[in-house]
């Protein structure tokens, strides 16, 4: 029990930190521009595939730097030539633009790398078990993922709290119009933030790619969870996104490890009627089966009991 608890906690924190790498960019972009970037998970996917392609030719480590830079550049181009054009048509058009972008990126990735999962390997340097708890070996690469995401988190925190750019970003979180009036080049800040956000998502892709599955549907399966994180944390709240990332990371990892069901708690369902088959479906669902649904259940619960999210201050 303790073993499962420890391993699940580690994995949960890791997944949560990865989620936060993406959710942080998403939240900052949303707060500043009012655009919830639908294509954010697509940048994560691009990062994984670019990292894979680079690792095939020059190795994993250059990919860790080059892939995020490339994706960040693509992000800036998207902001400069796409979003800025659409901006005048309003927020719905912007949301639809990024929605269309997910379609195109997914199709392009499928075209270039195919629909099947690619063989993105853990670098040899990290391909060993770091330590053994009880009987489970914990891979070093996972520790490395955790280390990288925590390092980036700390760096981000430093930049936002201690530098001038961070100050502008922070100001734009709560008073975007005022920042523009104070004479900052808001357009350039937007482009930069969008690029950095896309780059951060790509970092998450590069380090998560070898551990998880690198496949053309990875954006589609992760994207909705990312939005749950942002909405549950409270739209526009960076600390909220952090708490929600960890919460959902832990929730999902612990859920996967448990196979309890209502039948275990209350005993087997007996009797026969026309509805019994349907009810027994619900009765026998294990918590592990529910793990995919859990973030969305959490979302609905949060919206019913605390509509502005855990730490949100703004209504929309």
């Amino acid at each position: 029990m303790l073993e499962i608890g420890l391993i699940s906690t580690l994995n949960g924190v890791l997944f949560g930190m990865l989620l936060f790498l993406m959710a942080s960019g998403l939240t900052v972009i949303f707060s500043m521009m009012g655009v919830l970037n639908f294509a954010h998970a697509s940048f994560y996917m691009l990062g994984a595939f670019f990292g894979f392609e680079i690792s095939r030719h020059v190795g994993f480590w250059p990919g860790l730097v080059i892939a995020p830079v490339l994706v960040g550049g693509i992000g800036m181009l998207v902001e400069r030539y796409g979003l800025r054009t659409v901006h005048k048509h309003g927020h719905v058009a912007e949301l639809l633009f990024t929605f269309g972008l997910t379609f195109i990126i997914e199709e392009l990735v499928q075209m270039v790398w195919g629909k099947l999962a690619v063989d993105y390997r853990v670098p040899q340097l990290l391909d060993f078990p770091a330590f053994t708890i009880f009987s489970t070996e914990y891979p070093a690469f996972k520790l490395f993922e955790l280390f990288i995401s925590i390092a980036i988190f700390l760096a981000l925190l430093l930049v936002i709290k201690r530098t001038r750019v961070g100050l502008v970003v922070q100001a734009s979180l709560s008073h975007p119009e005022m920042v523009g009036m104070l004479g900052h080049n808001v357009d350039r800040v937007f482009m930069l933030v969008f690029g950095v956000g896309a780059g951060l998502a790509a970092v998450a892709g590069v380090i998560a790619g070898p551990a998880l599955v690198t496949q053309s549907n990875m954006a589609q399966s992760l994207g909705p969870i990312l939005f749950v994180v942002v909405v549950v944390g409270g739209l526009g709240s960076l600390s909220g996104a952090f708490v929600a990332s960890l919460l959902i990371g832990l929730l999902q990892t612990f859920a996967v490890a448990s196979d309890a069901s209502l039948a275990d708690v209350f005993g087997e369902l007996t009797g026969n009627g026309p509805l019994i088959a349907y009810v027994s479906d619900i009765w026998n669902v294990t918590v592990a089966q529910l793990s995919a649904v859990m973030p969305y259940l959490l979302l609905v619960l949060i919206l019913i009991f605390r509509p502005r999210g855990l730490m949100g201050t703004r209504e929309t």
């Binding site: 659409v86 633009f97 269309g100 392009l108 909705p224 649904v293 969305y296 609905v300 929309t316």
Partner: protein, 435 residues
């Protein structure tokens, strides 16, 4: 459709007498077209395509009740489509088991009722918020429902879905609904009813208040309407019609699978509605017909059809956010003032380089697709009946020149066409003022 359907236009009183006659004439024409179509296009493929189109027309129109009329961007509309389909399938199986004297004609009502019930249920949660938060909630609900579909095997049939036999219920007037043509008339009838119903809703005070909530929720609140309630009502009703569409789709295919309510289906309806045009009642109809046609036709021609689709959608979002119907509606004042002949040559002039640019894009896509997906076939391929080597730099250069040159010329001609449109509109207005 008619001039009275431009919802974006400021409160112009609709002409009572002649307007009514014109509207009635249009609806009669629609009914006649729906009735005559299978006689004109009588091949099996054409009829099943038209069945699909009419289902999608209902679905897209129901979606536009949210996006176009009330300004609610939903990413989970297929939930109502899918649940409507599932319940219709279960109702069919139950009716067959109990020998209930129910004809097939009424079963789409089951779908509609399901859509309404779930619309009320989910709407109570989702419509508390508007804007981006609403969009995210609908996305979450859609994921919730479609992931539960794989868990609750008895209700959703797991991976195989729920199948049934549509001919095994009571036959009214000896119609068995075995042949596809009979199903077509069933779908066409429901399509006509739903179109009429949704059009009627846009003409009621409720429809107008929906528009007000879309345009300025604060002011709508100030004049005493609860915007949440309005959004909730619109959401439930959109669920009702989406459920009818889902029920019809179930009857059409005789099977419902969880893909009917998946993210792809929700995405398709967004694409359809937006490409057709959200600001106009006819928009989603145009979009549904065009997109369904492209889906059927393009998927035969090229494997990269979804990419074209995405590009078309992006192009519309960036350059023509009013959709096809919006572009057409822009021409109406010119046509009415007899000025359209002035701009037509400019349009043709812009169209030619536009087509060249599209040729360049699709050549690149096809070459890419050929090199990556059809690697086994070697680099030889043909595009527009011209055979060439997809690896040769010349082919890529030609494509690049076509794209760049076409795009540059299109931008120039497009600007000229816009100028021409502006001056023609000026003339049309001054002509009317002078009268």
């Amino acid at each position: 459709m008619s001039k009275t359907t431009q919802n974006g236009a400021p409160g112009r009183p609709s002409g009572q007498g002649s307007g009514l006659v014109a509207t009635a004439a249009i609806w009669i024409a629609v009914a006649v077209v729906l009735a005559v179509l299978p006689q004109v296009f009588s091949s099996g493929l054409a009829i099943s395509t038209m069945c699909l189109m009419e289902i999608m027309i209902i679905f897209a129109l129901s979606y536009n009740m949210l996006l176009g009329q009330t300004g609610l961007l939903s990413f989970g509309h297929a939930v109502f489509f899918g649940l409507g389909g599932y319940l219709t399938a279960h109702a069919m199986n139950a009716a067959r088991g109990e020998h209930a004297p129910l004809p097939l004609e009424v079963f789409p009502l089951v779908g509609g009722a399901t859509g309404l019930v779930f619309g009320i249920l989910f709407g109570a949660v989702a419509t508390r918020r508007s804007g981006t938060a609403f969009a995210m909630i609908t996305l979450g609900i859609a994921e919730l429902v479609s992931s539960s579909a794989l868990i609750l095997r008895h209700a959703f049939g797991g991976e195989e879905g729920v199948a049934f036999d549509r001919t095994r219920v009571l036959h009214l007037f000896g119609i068995s609904f075995g042949p596809q043509e009979q199903v077509y008339y069933l779908i066409a009838g429901w399509c006509f009813l739903s179109m009429g119903g949704m059009y009627a809703i846009t003409r009621t005070p409720f429809g107008r208040i929906c528009n007000a909530v879309r345009d300025n929720p604060d002011r709508t609140g100030f004049i005493g309407y609860n915007t949440t309630t309005v959004r909730f009502l619109a959401f439930s009703m959109a669920g009702l019609f989406a459920g009818i569409a889902g029920g019809l789709a179930a009857l059409n295919f005789e099977i419902v699978t969880s893909s009917a309510m998946g993210a792809a289906q929700s995405g398709t309806v967004v694409l359809m509605t937006f490409i057709g045009g959200v600001g106009n009642f006819a928009g989603p109809i145009i979009g549904a017909i065009l997109v369904t046609y492209l889906q059927v036709m393009l998927s035969d021609i090229t494997g990269a059809w979804q990419l074209y689709f995405g590009l078309l959608f992006m192009g519309m979002v960036m350059f023509a956010p009013t959709g096809i119907a919006g572009l057409l509606a822009m021409q109406m004042p010119l046509v009415r003032a007899g000025q359209f002949h002035r701009v037509l040559p400019w349009y043709v002039l812009a169209l030619v380089p536009g087509l060249i640019a599209i040729t360049g894009v699709s050549m690149m896509v096809e070459m890419c697709f050929h090199l990556t997906v059809n690697t086994a076939d070697g680099p030889q391929m043909s595009f527009a009946h011209v055979a060439f080597d997809a690896n040769s730099p010349l082919a890529w250069a030609v494509a690049a020149v076509l794209l760049a040159g076409g795009f540059w010329l299109f931008r120039r001609a497009g600007r000229k066409a816009l100028d021409a449109y502006g001056s023609a509109l000026e003339k049309a207005r001054s002509g009317r003022a002078g009268r």
